[in-house]
């Protein structure tokens, strides 16, 4: 009995680990989209967040004096700065210069993925490694450190087996939920995304809110990349390993109908679907079908939401549109 419980909690724990990058990404994208910016650059930003952390960690590890606190802080700060700068490019182009959001986002993704792979590849070259990857074990260790409680029991496995970023992702999702729902800032932000003209007339600085939401959202998403390289893959960078998790995070936004709290459950569900084939006796051929499920489910959610026309579940009304106040 206990063994069954243990393996179930082990499965859930693995789902959580798989789902955490998605949770970061979707929380960031929800915050961004709530301001009316459809940032398709999020997959690129997550790459940039990851590689910036790696670069910071790499040079810190080279010094040879590893203090766990600094091993956490240096990559974290680098990652945040990297994704902030990437978000600023997006904001400047779409908000200040009112460029097309889809095109800008896609260009940012091209740029970001290239940026990640380029610097990743260059660092790999610097180390003269035989394998096409880069390992930062000393930096990763504090990221992977978990609270040593109930070790070896299903309870410990389920609740205490994770690195600190997992808890951060949950906390951020909850904080964003509360900010959007319960605070004045959240109210103003939602107004900007729904109807920038109304918000503008009410004296809300539309530009400021769009910049803030998109930049903070980008930084949160970037942490997803950092989590992936430092915790999930044990401080190992290899090019393109992050895959299309960024797009899955955007899918999750729809699945969660723009609510980060639902995003928590959704990301673990997606994560679970991602690894479910390991636990099922389906043939290997059907494994991709399982991996397709998150996207199919997302499409179904998107359709259902538009069929039901429940206004609260629809995308923010001005999503994807630039706001321009005609000068009187």
């Amino acid at each position: 009995m206990n063994a069954v419980l243990y393996s179930i909690s082990q499965f859930i724990a693995l789902s959580v680990v798989q789902g955490t990058p998605l949770l970061f990404g979707s929380t960031g994208e929800i915050l961004t989209e709530k301001s009316g910016n459809l940032n398709l650059g999020i997959p690129g930003i997550m790459y940039i967040g990851a590689i910036s952390g790696i670069v910071g960690g790499f040079f810190y590890q080279r010094t040879g004096y590893i203090i766990p606190m600094l091993a956490i802080i240096i990559p974290l700060v680098c990652s945040l700065i990297g994704s902030l700068l990437a978000s600023l490019i997006y904001c400047f182009l779409t908000v200040t210069l009112r460029a097309n959001q889809n095109v800008t986002g896609l260009a940012l993704t091209t740029f970001g993925v290239g940026f990640g792979n380029f610097f990743g590849g260059s660092l790999i070259k610097l180390t003269n490694s035989d394998t096409p990857n880069l390992t930062l074990p000393y930096i990763a260790r504090p990221y992977k450190a978990h609270i040593p409680l109930f070790e070896g029991t299903w309870f410990g496995e389920l609740f205490f087996s994770y690195g600190f970023l997992v808890y951060v992702s949950i906390a951020l999702a909850i904080i964003v939920t509360i900010v959007l729902k319960k605070t004045r800032v959240g109210l103003h932000l939602r107004a900007v995304g729904e109807s920038p003209a109304t918000a503008d007339a009410a004296g809300i600085n539309v530009t400021k809110y769009k910049y803030l939401a998109t930049c903070i959202g980008g930084m949160i998403a970037g942490l997803g990349g950092l989590y992936y390289v430092m915790d999930y893959s044990n401080g190992i960078w290899s090019n393109n390993a992050f895959g299309d998790r960024g797009w899955l995070a955007i899918a999750l936004v729809i699945f969660a109908v723009w609510r980060p709290s639902i995003g928590i459950a959704g990301s673990y569900l997606f994560g679970g679907l991602y690894i479910l084939y390991n636990y099922m006796t389906v043939s290997m051929q059907l494994q991709p079908i399982m991996q397709m499920l998150p996207y199919v489910v997302t499409i179904i959610v998107l359709i259902t939401v538009s069929l039901r026309k429940k206004r609260e579940n629809l995308p923010p009304a001005s999503l994807g549109l630039s706001y321009f106040r005609e000068e009187r």
């Binding site: 896609l106 290239g114 260059s122 051929q285 494994q287």
Partner: protein, 373 residues
């Protein structure tokens, strides 16, 4: 009364911005071209600075290397031509939808599903029927698959206003996973590509003993046809009217729903054919990387050309030149080949940004008139 008088307080002096932004009328063509050219030049300058920092070589040397990478010898030229034409056909394919303001981000999936259908036909029927029949069936299958991938989101958009950007985006990954599934079934070795040895039938014939050339010719024809379709056909006219103003479309009695679905069927079909051309005409292999991100790049190509299929020859040339050229730079200077993506990204940012100066005008504000006291 005096209380009321005292109650009134002056609002804080509002900060007046230095300049005012207004929409401007269409600029003359020369100025538009000049602005874009200036943006590209500025971007190239920035790129050369970055390359300089990374490689430490003379920027001119780098551009020379890029040029040689793209056009250095006849093999490279053909390869560049092929890459250009594939990107072009996908850009051309999504253009009818974009002109209708239908943001089809699903070209990647539509191409892939077209390629997958082609591969399935090649695998199952290859060798059993004459090659020319096989190619016709491949074409039919690729087109049909593309149509399905295109019409599904269009149908929901037309009837229930389902967000097409997100819908088509998701369809990409459904297509990718279907391809993965096919790979697992068709290739027992577990590699992630099914190659020419398995897909040995239904190859497009060579033209003038040159690979890919038939593809290039077909794509040239498609490009011209789509240009004519958009510019001179009744359907093309309806697409423009629906894209510009749904109200006007209704006023003249255009069936908006029908136009949306019909246009996406066409768009999807062309993407499917692009998949056919890649798989049947060039690579003779299928993998999740068959479309290789071109579905997304094509959006930028189409947008850069202002949705004019003939101009897309130039915008795809720019992108392909960058990719191939920067790839060569990467090889020669022992850099990572993702370097080209960085350069492409930077140039795109500049071009995207410069549109602002084409569409808007900055007026520097004189001091606003205050009511004299």
């Amino acid at each position: 009364m005096t209380e009321a008088v005292q109650k009134i307080k002056k609002p804080k002096k509002a900060w007046t911005p230095l300049f005012v932004i207004t929409k401007r009328d269409t600029l003359p063509l020369v100025k538009r071209v000049l602005i874009r050219a200036a943006a590209i030049v500025a971007a190239l300058l920035l790129c050369s600075v970055i390359t300089l920092v990374v490689t430490g070589s003379n920027p001119l040397q780098i551009y020379k290397t890029m040029f040689s990478g793209a056009f250095g010898n006849s093999i490279r030229i053909v390869r560049t031509l092929y890459e250009l034409s594939v990107l072009l056909v996908i850009a051309v394919a999504i253009t009818p939808a974009f002109k209708m303001k239908f943001w089809n981000t699903g070209a990647e999936g539509q191409v892939l599903i077209g390629g997958l259908s082609t591969a399935i036909v090649m695998l199952t029927l290859g060798g059993r029927i004459p090659d020319w029949t096989l190619i016709i069936i491949m074409a039919a299958a690729a087109t049909a698959a593309g149509v399905i991938w295109g019409v599904l989101p269009a149908f929901f958009k037309a009837y229930w206003k389902t967000n097409e950007t997100l819908f088509t985006l998701m369809m990409n990954y459904v297509a990718i996973q279907l391809v993965e599934c096919f790979l697992k079934i068709a290739d027992k070795t577990g590699s992630n590509v099914v190659g020419p040895t398995t897909l040995s039938h239904g190859w497009f014939p060579q033209l003038f003993k040159t690979d890919y050339l038939l593809d290039v010719v077909i794509i040239a024809v498609i490009t011209v046809l789509v240009y004519i379709y958009l510019r001179y056909s009744k359907h093309g006219y309806e697409i423009s009217v629906v894209g510009e103003s749904e109200n006007t479309a209704k006023y003249v009695g255009i069936n908006v729903k029908k136009v949306i679905i019909r246009t996406m069927a066409l768009s999807g079909a062309l993407c499917g054919i692009a998949g056919l051309l890649i798989v049947g005409g060039a690579s003779h292999s299928i993998s999740a990387e068959t479309a290789g991100g071109r579905g997304f790049t094509a959006i930028m190509v189409s947008w850069l050309a202002k949705f004019n299929p003939l101009m897309m020859v130039f915008s795809s040339l720019l992108i392909v030149f960058l990719e191939r050229g920067a790839g060569e730079v990467a090889t020669v200077f022992a850099l990572n080949k993702s370097f080209s993506d960085i350069l492409t990204g930077i140039i795109l940012f500049f071009i995207i940004g410069c549109e602002f100066f084409i569409n808007y005008k900055l007026h520097f504000r004189k001091h606003s008139k205050e009511a004299a006291v």
